[in-house]
């Protein structure tokens, strides 16, 4: 955001400002000022988690390196610990075995936190979707803010996704607990960690699975009754 843009956005249109001063003065209310300053700080210091899953992670590293230079956006500080990270770049295929640590890491990240699904696999399973160990999209388990398609996305595409994330942050407001759950009262809910059983089981779906199993069993009992 350039300086004049910044002021224009901040300015309350109902308050008149003398001519000739529009480019250097903005009159606004406290909430709007807090939002803008807060978002401006946050959008320019997003620390991604150093967390590569698969092929896309290599393009992620390429994005961080000199030719594409992620540091231009204040995003070059890759943190290995989820506690220090603001952004989880899900860069690659999410397998059933891996989604357990991913959900746990997401729960460990401190708020505000964002998730960017990079590449076809993280978005929806991609070319490996039919596989027995592949989750068809990380958004089946954790909320995703930005989707960047590609297999793998080029560094330019990833940069586009990061800019989109900045735009999203610009629109967030301290007063709106619906769009930004971390400004609400009390801690936000943790995502339940999936269980590796005979197949992966999402605890949130357990009751649905039980209902299905009971329906199948009832059908079998009925079929047996008809045979007899």
């Amino acid at each position: 955001m350039t300086e004049s843009n910044f002021l224009r956005e901040l300015h309350d249109p109902d308050v008149p400002v003398p001519e000739g001063m529009q480019s250097s003065v903005a009159v606004t209310n406290l909430r709007k000022l807090a939002d803008t300053v807060y978002n401006w700080g946050r959008r320019n210091s997003i620390w991604p988690m150093a967390f590569g899953l698969a092929c896309c992670a290599i393009e992620m590293i390429a994005t961080a390196s000199s030719r594409f230079d992620q540091a231009r956006f204040g995003m070059e500080v890759l943190r290995a610990s989820p506690r220090q990270a603001d952004l989880m770049l899900v860069s690659g295929t999410v397998t059933k075995k891996m989604v357990v640590p991913i959900v746990r890491l997401y729960n460990q990240m401190s708020e505000p936190k964002y998730v960017l699904a990079m590449g076809a696999c993280a978005i929806g399973g991609g070319p490996f979707k039919e596989g027995y160990n592949v989750v068809s999209g990380v958004d089946k388990y954790i909320p995703v803010d930005v989707y960047v398609p590609g297999c793998p996305p080029t560094p330019q595409a990833l940069l586009w996704g990061l800019i989109k994330l900045q735009e999203k942050i610009d629109k967030q407001s301290l007063g709106n607990a619906n769009s930004t759950p971390w400004y609400g009262r009390g801690p936000s809910d943790e995502v339940p960690v999936p269980v590796l059983g005979p197949d992966i089981v999402d605890p949130r779906q357990a009751h649905l699975l039980r209902r299905e199993a009971e329906a199948v069993q009832a059908q079998m009992v009925q079929a047996e009754g008809e045979e007899n």
Partner: protein
Amino acid sequence: MADQSPAVETVNPVDDAINHLIEKFGAAVQRDTRDGYSGVIVDPAQLVRVGRYVRDTLNYEYLANAAAVDYLGKGDHLEMVYHTYRVSGGPALVLKAQTPREDAVLPSLVPVWPGANFQEREAWDLMGIRFDGHPNLKRILMWEGFAGHPLRKDWKEAYYEQDQKPFDSRWPGGQVSRSEEHNAYGKNVKYPDGFTLDDYESLAEKAIYDTMPLGVDVSADISTDRVVVSLGPQHPSTHGVFRMVAAIEGETIRGLEPVMGYLHRNHEKIGERNTFLQNMPFTDRLDYFCSLSNNLGYALGVEQLMAHGARWEAPSRRAEAIRVLMVELTRILNHLVAIGFMLNDLGAYFTPLMYAIIERELILDFFEAVTGSRMMCNYMRFGGVAADLPASLRSTANQVNDRVREFDTMQYLRELIHDRLPRAVDQTDQLLTTNEIVTSRCIDVGILSKEDAIAYSAAGPVLRASGVPYDIRRAEPYSLYPELEFDVAVRYHGDIYDRYLIRLDEMRQSLRILKQILPILEETKGQSFFSGRGGIYSPRVPAGESYGRAENPKGELGYYIVSDGGQNPWRYHVRAPSFINLTALEQMSKGNKIADVVAILGSIDIVLGELDR
């Protein structure tokens, strides 16, 4: 340096070996007489004895590959296939053992070839063959407690649609629906009776820690607790989602178990549903630094099968030259990045990697111009390559201000190969080789002896750094390599430092090869780059088996392919160098400090895409 022109053999050495085996073991060893197959079928009761004889007396001491095949409806048995090689070079002696599908048991070959360890665990995990005498038989890619053995032909995944592609729902009608909609609850999953989540305890983690040596160690006068540390799967220096569980005493490693499967993307199951050609883009995603080398290995495997069929024409000289060009550029790219990553693990946070990526971008500019993609090139075809080299390409090379400029392709290659890359290699050498931190952390750490390297089936730079001059480009040459002049790089100490130096050596040899390839490209300009007929959706592949192997930057990449004459491979197995090189990780790490394990892992150079497949 290996022999440039191998002496003409009057007797095929493999035939000779098979005759020896039959003479020695009688009815326990039979020739595999199925059409298109080779090797011998061994009676399981005699398998270990035959293995010992093959290793010690016949000198086939290197077990390259062990794969299981399910012959459902074609004899209804499971078959374990072992490819053994002589370290001095030459073709494979293939051993096979069969077992019924119900209650499948075979004797373990780990006592003969320790390198079979992970491969047998994989066969148990995915195919359900139990190995008698295996030291640690549990699942390796899936988690303990998973229902069923997924690579069996009658096993169906949660999103099962059809046995073979192209699926009716997509082609020719094109009515695509999302599989989670018509099979929302994974009806194929076999839950045990009365399964509920309420009191379920997952076996996945428990199985890993059960075998770790815990407790208290009492040495002379001081007693220390053994502590188990889990590194990964989310860890900055495990190169992706790899995980190591180490039992440490103080800071010294006493036991270490690699835990993998966090990127198991079911390459083989999907590969058996795909048509032969559909697998080509999937091979890109195995070792995602070296997609072109993966392509070549797979093309070699299928071409071996197609060579038996009618209407087969070998790739033209231009196609072979382009292949070698691509593969050797990939090798340089991979080694530069591998060294960068290794230095990352030594604590030089990202700087060497940044240097490597500068050169990588220049090579990727060329790849993108030729194949259309930076990383996932999908370029090789059965009988050639997908496209000729373009006349010109766009890159930022040699520009101070990073402006994109148009280059003549051959001119670009000449600058890259004669000027830019040699300087990059020399620069790496200059900055790192005598660096004090590098030398003090690397020399004499993580030693793998020559005997161990062969026994553990190590491949590529790891094998050659231990003093074994085994390079498939010389041992079983393919493509244009017989006529190209280069040396097989060897180092003799088998420590981290040698594994670093050998990558520098190999880059220099690759540059030597590339300098010879450029004139061949000039003289073959205008020749066809593809010997098959254009526009064929699915090439005809005759029935039989083949093992296509290529010397990838990370080691021997092998594709064991069984065709039943249909349009999909019946069995498609990938022998991944990253996976099998890890078998020796515990051996290399024991007795070292925990900080060194990270460096040792970096020196093996693993890539998760191919490790877990």
